[in-house]
C-alpha cells in the first residue's frame, strides 16, 4: 500500500510538470491595436536600423542559425517576439552609445511589457545568444521583430 502511494506522489506530478510547458499556450499580446508599436517601438527600431546602416560593415548574407531556429510562425508570433526581445537585451551590454542602448532597451522592454508570456528559459539558447552579438545579427533580428509586429497588426485589422 505504501509503495503504491509513493508512486503516485513522486511519479505523476513530475510528469505533469514536464508536460506543462509543452502544453502551455502561446503568449498573449496586449498591444494588438498597434498604438504602442507605431508610436514608440517602431521609432526606436528605425533609429537603431538607421544607426546601424551608417556604421554597418559587410554582413554575411546567410542568416545565423540561432535566428533561423525561431520564426514568426502563425499562432507563435508572441513567443517569437518574446524570445527576440530577450535576445535584444544581450546586445545592450556592447560598447554602444547611450541613445543606442536606450533604444535597444526600449524595444526589448517595451515588447516584453506588451507580452504576457511565461515560457521556461532554455540554458542552451542563452549560450547561443551570447555568441551572436554582432551588429549584423542585431540588424537581422530587428528586421524580424518589425516584420512580426506588422504581421500581428495586419492580422488584427483583418479580424
Amino acid at each position: 500500500m505504501f509503495h503504491v502511494s509513493f508512486r503516485y506522489i513522486f511519479g505523476i506530478p513530475p510528469l505533469i510538470l514536464v508536460l506543462l510547458p509543452v502544453a502551455s499556450s502561446d503568449c498573449d499580446i496586449e498591444g494588438k491595436d498597434g498604438r504602442e508599436y507605431q508610436h514608440v517601438l517602431m521609432i526606436s527600431i528605425n533609429d537603431l536600423l538607421d544607426t546601424m546602416i551608417k556604421n554597418r560593415t559587410n554582413c554575411p548574407n546567410n542568416e545565423p542559425k540561432v535566428l533561423k531556429k525561431h520564426a514568426c510562425d502563425d499562432n507563435k508570433e508572441g513567443m517569437f517576439l518574446y524570445r527576440a526581445a530577450r535576445k535584444l537585451k544581450q546586445f545592450v551590454k556592447m560598447n554602444n552609445s547611450e541613445d543606442f542602448n536606450l533604444h535597444l532597451s526600449r524595444v526589448s522592454q517595451g515588447t516584453l511589457q506588451l507580452l504576457n508570456c511565461t515560457p521556461k528559459e532554455d540554458n542552451k539558447s542563452v549560450k547561443e545568444q551570447r555568441k551572436q552579438k554582432s551588429l549584423c545579427s542585431l540588424g537581422i533580428l530587428l528586421q524580424k521583430i518589425k516584420t512580426c509586429w506588422n504581421k500581428i497588426l495586419r492580422g488584427s485589422k483583418e479580424h
Binding site: 508610436h39 514608440v40 521609432i43 541613445d99 536606450l102 532597451s105 526600449r106 517595451g110 511589457q113
Partner: protein, 458 residues
C-alpha cells in the same frame, strides 16, 4: 449603581475618543487630512531637450511645507527601477531619457524615506506640449484675407508630432471676447469680411496632443501678435474699372433721355410707322414742284382768301346766257378732266348738272357746273391778302366775271376762262368741308390747289 454608571460613562467616552481618531493606521497611509494636503499633479514634456524628457510635479496646495518631502518615480523606466526628482523652489522635476513610454508608472511622495502618498499615472497621458511661437499675420489684398502662420517645435520631434492647435483672436477693445479656431496644421486663413475694418486685433495660439496615443494638457499660449485691418475704401476699385463704369452709366442715362425726347418725332415713326394720311401725302406731292404753293386740306390756311358764296339759281341763269355764245356740250368724265387739265374753252354744264345745293353733297363728281363754274371763278379770284391765295386764284380760270357776287369780292383781275382749272366746288354753305372733286387732267396739283381754295369753313 453610581459607580456602575460612572464606569459605563467612562467607557463610552473612551470609545468615542478612540473612534474620533480617524485615519489611524500603522503606516499613516490612510490619514485623510494629510492626504488632502499632499495631493499633487504632474505633467510631462517629451524631447524637451534633445532626446531628454521632462517630468514636473507640484503640490496642489501651495501652502504645503515641502521642506523634507521627496518625489520618486518607479516603473516604466529603462534599465532602472526608480528615479528621484530634483527640487526647484516648490516644483519637483526630473529630466531623463529613461522613460519607457509604455505602461504605467508610480510616483511616491516620501518624507524621510517613508511613503506619504502615491499616485499611479502614465507618462504618455499627461503630455504638455511646448508653446507655439513665431505667430505671424499677413494681409493678402488680392484674396481679401489674412494668412496666419505659426511654428511649433514638435514638428521636429519623433514622439509627439501630431498636435491640435487653437488660435484665438479678438479686437483689442473687446476684452474677453475671444474668437477661437481649432486646426491641426500651422496655417490659418481669416476672411477680411469677418473682421472689423480699420481695427486693431491681437492673436495667439496654443497646442494639445492629438489624443491618438499621446494625451495631455494645453500648452502655454504663444506670445500675442497684433495687427490692424485695412480701411474699406469703397472696395478699392480699379481706377480704370471705375472710369469705365461711370462713363457707361452716363452713356446709358444719355441714351434714355434722348430716347424719351425723340420718341415721338424720330423713333416712333421709324419703329412704328403710321399709315400715311392721304391728305398730307397729297399736300407733300403738291408742295414739291412748287414750294410756295399753299397746299393744304386745312381750311384754316385759307382764311385770308376771299371765298364768296355763289347763289345756285342766279349762277345757272347766267351760265345759260353765257352758253348761248358757245356750243354746249355734255359734261362727262372727259370734260371734267379737261376742266381739270386746263381746258381752253368754257364748258357749261347741262341742265341736270345744275345741281342743287343738296345734290352737291357727295353726289356729283363734277367740278364745275353752271353755277359751280361761277363759283370757281369766284373762289379762284385772287385776293390781296395772301400771296398763296393770290396765286391760286391766278391759276384758276375765271369765266363769269359777272358772277363775282357776295362779300369779299375785291377788285382783282379775273383770269381767262382758258385757264380754268377748278375742280372743287361747294355751293351749300352747310356742306362745309365737303369738297367736290372733279377728276383733273395733267395738272392734278393745280386742281387740288383750286379745290382747296373752295374749302369753306364757315
Amino acid at each position: 449603581m453610581t459607580i456602575l454608571g460612572t464606569a459605563f460613562g467612562m467607557v463610552f467616552y473612551l470609545l468615542q475618543a478612540v473612534s474620533g481618531e480617524s485615519g489611524y493606521a500603522q503606516n499613516g497611509e490612510f490619514e485623510d487630512a494629510e492626504l488632502d494636503d499632499y495631493s499633487f499633479s504632474c505633467y510631462s514634456q517629451l524631447e524637451v531637450d534633445g532626446t531628454q524628457h521632462l517630468l514636473t510635479c507640484a503640490f496642489d496646495d501651495p501652502d504645503v511645507n515641502s521642506t523634507n518631502l521627496e518625489f520618486e518615480i518607479c516603473g516604466a523606466l529603462l534599465n532602472v527601477k526608480c528615479l528621484t526628482f530634483d527640487k526647484l523652489q516648490e516644483m519637483y522635476f526630473i529630466k531623463t531619457k529613461k522613460f519607457l513610454l509604455i505602461g504605467d508608472s508610480e510616483i511616491h511622495v516620501k518624507l524621510g524615506g517613508k511613503n506619504i502618498t502615491s499616485k499611479k499615472l502614465n507618462i504618455v497621458k499627461i503630455v504638455k506640449p511646448e508653446a507655439p511661437f513665431d505667430i505671424r499675420v499677413i494681409y493678402r489684398e488680392g484674396a481679401n484675407d489674412f494668412l496666419v502662420t505659426f511654428n511649433t517645435s514638435h514638428s521636429q520631434k519623433k514622439y509627439v508630432k501630431e498636435l491640435m492647435h487653437e488660435v484665438a483672436y479678438r479686437q483689442e477693445k473687446n476684452e474677453n471676447d475671444w474668437m477661437c479656431v481649432n486646426l491641426s496644421s500651422t496655417k490659418l486663413t481669416l476672411l477680411q469680411r469677418k473682421l472689423q475694418p480699420d481695427a486693431m486685433y491681437e492673436i495667439k495660439v496654443r497646442s494639445i496632443p492629438n489624443a491618438n496615443y499621446f494625451q495631455g494638457f494645453w500648452s502655454e499660449w504663444s506670445p500675442t501678435f497684433h495687427f490692424r485691418t485695412p480701411e474699406i475704401t469703397g472696395g478699392k476699385m480699379d481706377p480704370v474699372l471705375l472710369t469705365i463704369s461711370i462713363l457707361s452709366f452716363f452713356s446709358v442715362a444719355l441714351m434714355v433721355i434722348l430716347a424719351c425726347a425723340l420718341w415721338k418725332k424720330r423713333i416712333k415713326p421709324i419703329v412704328w410707322p403710321s399709315l400715311p394720311d392721304h391728305k398730307k401725302t397729297l399736300e407733300q406731292l403738291c408742295k414739291k414742284p412748287k414750294k410756295n404753293l399753299n397746299v393744304s386740306f386745312n381750311p384754316e390756311s385759307f382764311l385770308d382768301c376771299q371765298i364768296h358764296k355763289v347763289d345756285g339759281i342766279q349762277a345757272r341763269d347766267e351760265a345759260e346766257s353765257f352758253l348761248q355764245d358757245t356750243s354746249p356740250s355734255q359734261l362727262d368724265e372727259s370734260e371734267k378732266q379737261r376742266l381739270g387739265g386746263g381746258m381752253q374753252g368754257p364748258i357749261w354744264p347741262s341742265e341736270h348738272a345744275a345741281i342743287t345745293p343738296k345734290a352737291f353733297r357727295g353726289d356729283s363728281p363734277f367740278g364745275c357746273l353752271a353755277g359751280s363754274i361761277s363759283m370757281c371763278e369766284a373762289l379762284v379770284q385772287p385776293s390781296s391778302r395772301s400771296p398763296d391765295c393770290r396765286e391760286g386764284c391766278k391759276n384758276g380760270p375765271h369765266v363769269y366775271q359777272g358772277l363775282l357776287l357776295g362779300p369779299g369780292t375785291t377788285n382783282s383781275t379775273v383770269p381767262t376762262p382758258s385757264t380754268f382749272q377748278s375742280g372743287i366746288l361747294t355751293l351749300n354753305p352747310t356742306a362745309q368741308g365737303q369738297p367736290m372733286l372733279t377728276p383733273l387732267g395733267s395738272s392734278q396739283e393745280e386742281a387740288y390747289v383750286t379745290m382747296s381754295s373752295f374749302y369753306q369753313n364757315q
